[in-house]
Each structure stands twice: as structure tokens, then as C-alpha cells.
């Protein structure tokens, strides 16, 4: 028992750091259970994969938060989150749930999901703002922040004279992005 808890803590730490082996191991060891349940409750294979991946993303974001602690086992948490996500999805699709199983929305996880939904909206607004930025800012910021390219690589890729010019350009792009992003967030 002690051993399990230890490994789970360890796994969560690696998840928070974005360690790909930890992420894959969490996903693959829970996929069958979650997808089986979703398929039994009116979902398709695609739904099962979407919900299962989303649940791991919820856990990942939670594991990154400052005062993070998981009071339950990873599997319990993921399963509850997945159920809640799927019930929400069914509500959105206005599909009747043809099952006798009572809907148990667990309140603590409900909070996590609310935070998650807000974050997703936020990120969507950011993606939209990035799209609206246009060339070359869009590519420049993506290369630096999403693909973790170094300033030197940016100089080569975008043909700047030196890293200082690239930096100045990056700051200008950030300022424009901020304006577009905050406009959206206010709407």
C-alpha cells in the first residue's frame, strides 16, 4: 500500500513536469476502464478517447497547481472526472442517458472541472488571438513559446540580423498579442 502511494506521488510529480513517459503510462493504464464505461454509456470510440485524454489533461493541470494534493488514487480521480465530463457532454448533445445508474456528480471534482472549463476558454481565446496576429508574429511566437526554439534559431529562421533584433521583434509581437488577447478576454 505504502509502495503504491509512493509511486503515485512520484508519477504525479513527473506528470506535473510534463514527463512524456509518465503521461503515457497514466493514459494507457486507465484507457480501457474509462473507454469501456463511456462506450457502455452511449459514447463512441472517438468520444472515449477524447474524454479519457481530457481527463488526463484535467489531472495534469491540477498537478501543476501550487497547493496540489490528491486525496484519492489517480484512478478514482480520473474515473470521476471522466464520468462528469461525459455527462456534461451528453447534456450538451441533449442526449438522454439510457441507464439506471444514478448520476453522481462529485462536488469537489465539479470545482476542478469548472476551473478547467474556464482555463480552456482562456486558452481558446489565446489561440484565436494568435491566429489573428498573422505573419510573422504568429510564427515567431509559436516557434519560441510552443516549439521552444532558441533566439539564435529564430535569427536563422526569420532572417533577423542578430538576436537583439529578434528580441525586439518578439516584444513587439507580444505587445500586439496582449492587446488582442485581452480584448477577447473582456468580451
Amino acid at each position: 500500500m505504502q509502495g503504491t502511494l509512493h509511486t503515485e506521488q512520484d508519477l504525479l510529480k513527473r506528470l506535473a513536469a510534463g514527463d512524456s513517459r509518465a503521461i503515457k503510462s497514466i493514459y494507457t493504464s486507465h484507457y480501457r476502464m474509462i473507454s469501456g464505461w463511456i462506450v457502455k454509456h452511449g459514447g463512441g470510440e472517438q468520444d472515449a478517447a477524447d474524454i479519457c485524454q481530457e481527463s488526463v489533461v484535467v489531472l495534469y493541470e491540477k498537478s501543476k497547481s501550487k497547493d496540489f494534493q490528491l486525496t484519492s488514487k489517480i484512478s478514482t480521480y480520473l474515473f470521476s472526472v471522466a464520468k462528469n465530463l461525459w455527462y456534461k457532454e451528453l447534456q450538451n448533445r441533449r442526449t438522454e442517458i439510457l441507464t439506471n445508474e444514478p448520476i453522481e456528480m462529485e462536488s469537489s471534482y465539479e470545482d476542478d472541472l469548472k476551473v478547467h472549463r474556464e482555463r480552456e476558454i482562456h486558452y481558446q481565446q489565446l489561440d484565436d488571438a494568435m491566429e489573428e496576429l498573422g505573419s510573422p508574429c504568429n510564427e515567431l511566437l509559436k516557434a519560441y513559446y510552443y516549439k521552444q526554439k532558441s533566439m539564435h534559431e529564430l535569427v536563422d529562421k526569420f532572417g533577423y540580423t542578430n538576436t537583439d533584433t529578434a528580441k525586439t521583434q518578439k516584444y513587439k509581437c507580444l505587445a500586439r498579442l496582449k492587446k488582442l488577447f485581452f480584448e477577447r478576454a473582456l468580451k
Binding site: Q53, Y60, Y123, Q148
Partner: protein, 355 residues
Amino acid sequence: MLQERNIWELAEAYINNELSGDDKAALERRRSTDHSFAAEFQDCIDMLQALKGNAAQKKVRSILKDAHNELETPKAAPKQISNRRHMWRTAAVAASIALITSLTTYWVVQVNNKKIESKYSLLRRDLEKYKRSQNKIIRDIKEQTGSPYSDARYTATGFAITNNGFLATNYHVVEGADSVYIQTQDGEYHKVNVIGGDKTTDLVVLKVEDDNFKFSKYDVPYALARNKKMLGTTVFTLGFPQDEIVYNEGYISAVNGYQGDSTQYRLEIPAGPGQSGAPVVDASGNVIGLITGKQSQSEGITYAVCSEALLSLADSLKGEHKISLPRVNRMGRLSRVRQIERLEQFTCAIKVYKK
């Protein structure tokens, strides 16, 4: 020292914990006294943290996708075909040069189309001739490489009608095919199945076999036009006359198509083999049709099936293949290059294999 540094540089160093003790103290002093600076600084931090958080989450999502793909049995992709693509293209180009001189109209499909609609039946002989000449070239390649050439026959173009893998192209593209693959913007091959088609209008709806497939993380950004557009409407198209996607622009030169066919438009736009099924888009980003064939004696006369025909085909699909078509056009206010950039994600090359 602190004053001279760009506020973004400062914010970035701050969240990365790269500020020296002195700088940090100076920064905190300024934040507590200069309120407008403090507010702006906080905005910068929020912006940067959103960017980094979003980046990290995207990475996690892509790892999860990989994990999911690894769960499923790896599907055989036609790798050997892509290796030989270059030679294949040379053969097709050489053969199509021979063709252009001999035809009046033909399907804009890259290569030896055996079956031709009856209204084009006059052309069949010429196509047979063309086929022979091309097969000869293919045989030559075979002999050179010493291994059997793949049974790929055509390439064409298709475009998404839903983000989750439904797409449209011409009926003649997939007619008699043993298997059909699409190659998406990222270069990946995906097997597709025919869901429904209409030989008369020359339309077919395909679906990517992989249920997890998505063209893009965004929804289809264009809508299918519900009414015929007017004479003179300027249009553009994206297609695959070669391995790389190609842009062309033109206009509607007649509201009816080949021999007065009202399900078609006649366009004045350059089109070449491989562009069958290419979406034809108006200035506001509505898909008004897809390219089907061309007249080659006069350069630039191209025919396109109109989008209403595609709409009625899609509406006729029932059951699990019921499609909800894109109704909202989100490209209206974008510049042309941005429209193209969006459309590109939803346009794919179609590879048809026959024994």
C-alpha cells in the same frame, strides 16, 4: 538599470526566476509605488503565463494523442509509394504533356482514367492512347528500379466538409478504386472509405477510416454556398497538381457548365491534372463548388460542380453517416492569404490505388 529594460524582458526574467536579488528588490519597489507600471507589469506576466501554460498543455495533449495511437494496432501506410513519388510524378507529367495535345476535354485527374462519362465518350480513345503511353513510362521505371511499381493510379484533390473526416471529391476520382488514401497537410496518409456518391453530378463523399481523425483543431472555417453565385464572381482554388499544394485564381465565366449543365459552373481558372475535386472558393470564403474537368484546347476553361449539388448529396446521407455541414463562414473578414492558410488545413491530396 531597471528602467532601461523592456517591460517584457523584465516580466520574462521575473517569471523564469532569472532576476538578481538587487533587480528583484528594485522591481518590487517600483511595483509598490508606480501603480500604472504595476498594472502593466501584471498584464505582461499574465500574458506570458498564459502562453507558457498553453504551450505546456498543448505538448501534453500531443503526447496523449501519441499514447492513444500507440494503443491501437499500427496501420499499414503506403510508405513504399511515397518513396517513389518523385518518379511517379515525372511519369505523370511526361504522359500528361502527350495528352494535352490530343484532347478537347478531360477529367482533371492525374493519369490514366479508364472509365469516362458517356457525355465524354468521344474522348475515350484518346485516353486509351494516353494510358498506353503512360503505362510504357511506368514499365520503364519498373525495369530501372527492379522492383514492382506500386499499383497507385491517380492523384486528385479533396476538401473537408466536416472536421472529423468527411470530405468531398469527384466521383470519377474514386470510381473502380481498390483503395483510396488521403494525404493531409502534415504529410500523413489516412485510409478513406466511400460513404455516398452521385455519378451524374460527379460527386462523392468520403470518410477517413480512423475515427479519431481530425483535419484541424479548429472547425471547418468555410460554409458551402446554398445558392448559385453570379456571373463574374471572382474565385480561387487550392489543389494538388503536384506534391505541393497550388493556388490559382479566376472567375465564373458562365453560370452553367459543360454543355449547359446547370449543376456546374464554367470557370476561367488554370487547372491541371490532380486538381479534380479542388475546392472553388469565393472572395468571402464560401465554397461554391469543386473542380471536375477542363477544356484543354483553350487554356483556362475549367468546369466545377456547384456546391448545391454537394449539399443535396450530403443531405441524402442517412443513419450513422448523417453529416452536419458547416453553415458558418468564418473566413469573411480575413485577408486572402489568411483564408488560404485556413483552407489549406482542410484540403488534402487524394491517392487512388487500383490493381
